[in-house]
Amino acid sequence: MTDEALSGYSALYARLDSLDQTAAIAHDCWSADLSLMAARIAPPDLAGFKAALDLLIPKVQAAFTAARTAHDFDLTDHIESVLSRLYFWRIYARDQFIAALDQASAAAMTALQAATATLQKTAADFDQGDHDTDTAMTSLQDLAEAVGLRS
């Protein structure tokens, strides 16, 4: 996470904190998580970052629902702004995981394409009948020799 992004978060949380008691309670709950998330947001600890988000998002979602139920539209908007970003960050974290896995697909695809080409060539041979006829005739010639029909 960039410094700019972190300062953006700080500003959002500060705004939440200044709103009312609900926000203050929410802030108490989230502040520890936020600092934990900030520490883990660096790419080397993607799993830790996602785990922090997994802990944080339900709390923020609950606060959002509480504000919405109370018809506190301003607070709802503020929380939603933070909450959406948290969801987007979790999607981003999963995207990094998907991208890493996706790299491994290239080698597997090369192996599959080779196997498919082998099959398709074999099928073409069978369609032309060359392979079968050769096999069949070898069989028949062997048989003929075995039974003395052919020297």
């Binding site: 992004a5 972190l6 953006g8 959002l12 979602q61 919405r68 018809h71 539209f73 709802t76 908007d77 939603e80 702004s81 909450l83 959406s84 970003r85 969801y87 987007f88 960050w89 979790r90 999607i91 981003y92 999963r94 995207d95 995981f97 998907i98 991208a99 896995l101 996706d102 790299q103 491994a104 697909s105 290239a106 597997a108 695809m109 192996a111 599959l112 196997a115 498919t116 082998t118 099959l119 398709q120 074999t122 099928a123 069978f126 369609d127 009948g129 079968d132 006829t133 096999t135 069949a136 070898t138 069989s139 028949l140 048989l143 003929a144 075995a146 039974v147 003395g148 029909l149 052919r150």
Partner: protein, 333 residues
């Protein structure tokens, strides 16, 4: 002696025909069906992910500072005489405190991989199934003719009844073996890739499912807020409208309020429809396929069937040996 030999031939024929290997068509077809369904399922998942996350991004209110931008798509920014790499043109979500979320369909290599699995499965089924049956049958017929000619040329008396049929059965068995060997070799070559594909699809699909649900949660929150706000605003406007005396000189104010009330009602309808659409997406995402282990299992079953010595071929070749013994006896060797 000849009668015994003929009985032996008939027995051998029965053994050869009964044992005449049937290729594992059932396993090949099952694998093809699973691979094709998995390719469809995975394609739908990545498309659903893109559609949902794009909607989640574009519905953010201007106040959040989140925006959607194209990156490296404008050719006019490239140095004269050069082209921007086509892969660099992207749509991204940007904003303070916001990840640079790509609004493109994910897992491009894995999408190609599962399509390659489906192509491979189709090629496997083609070879195991009906495509070359006609050719195989023609070859068997040709083999029958060949052996009849062989008998004629060699000056040996016409073969016993069923003799050419028995030889044809052997020839068919040999052809089946050749096909079986080709299938088995290809299947063994492809097996590690199939296992990788099954694991990849499983792991990536779990993440895609999570992403669809998260972007749907963003949408749900936005539309619920919009619905709540429109409802509350509509109520307040309606109260004002009702309180405004319907008398001369207030018509303009009442009309203005009426327009505003209608506007809020339209917002409610839009938000309600969007909520329902999002709920449908959530239900679909919850049912999304995330276990692709069946693909690897189906392929293992196919290899086992191809490799199983007791299925088809062995008994067919036992039959050939019996048959050769019987023919030798018939010739008085």
């Amino acid at each position: 002696m000849r009668l015994n030999a003929r009985n032996a031939i008939i027995c051998a024929l029965i053994i050869a025909l009964a044992g005449c290997a049937t290729l594992p068509q059932r396993e090949a077809t099952a694998f093809k069906t699973i691979a094709s369904a998995d390719a469809d399922s995975f394609g739908k998942a990545t498309a659903s992910d893109l559609r949902s996350r794009t909607e989640a991004a574009v519905i953010q209110s201007a106040a959040t500072g989140i925006s959607v931008e194209t990156m490296n798509c404008d050719q006019s920014t490239a140095p004269a005489g050069t082209m921007i790499d086509k892969t660099q043109c992207e749509v991204k979500m940007t904003g303070v405190g916001t990840p640079p979320l790509a609004l493109v369909e994910g897992a491009p290599r894995t999408r190609k991989l599962i399509k390659a699995v489906a192509t491979y499965a189709a090629a496997m089924a083609d070879l195991a199934e009906a495509k070359d049956v006609a050719a195989a049958k023609a070859n068997v017929d040709a083999a029958e003719k060949s052996i009849e000619t062989l008998f004629t040329i060699s000056g040996v008396a016409a073969p016993a009844a069923g003799f050419t049929k028995a030889i044809a059965a052997i020839a068919k068995g040999r052809m089946t073996k050749a096909r079986r060997n080709a299938l088995l070799a290809a299947a063994r070559e492809a097996d590690p890739a199939i296992k990788v594909a099954a694991d990849q699809l499983t792991e990536i699909s779990k993440s895609i499912k999570g992403n669809v649900l998260d972007s749907a949660a963003v949408r749900l929150n936005r539309y619920q807020s919009a619905l709540d706000r429109a409802t509350e605003t509509g109520k307040r406007l309606q109260a004002k409208y009702s309180a405004l005396p319907a008398r001369a000189g207030r018509a303009d104010a009442r009309d203005q309020l009426r327009v505003m009330i209608d506007g809020e009602q339209a917002r409610r309808v839009d938000a309600g429809n969007a909520l329902v659409r999002t709920a449908v997406d959530i239900r679909l995402a919850r049912g999304m396929e995330t276990d692709f282990s069946g693909l690897a299992k189906a392929h293992t079953a196919l290899i086992n069937a191809l490799d199983k010595p007791e299925v088809g071929m062995t008994s067919a070749f036992d039959g050939i040996n019996s048959f050769l013994d019987a023919v030798s006896s018939a010739k008085g060797d």
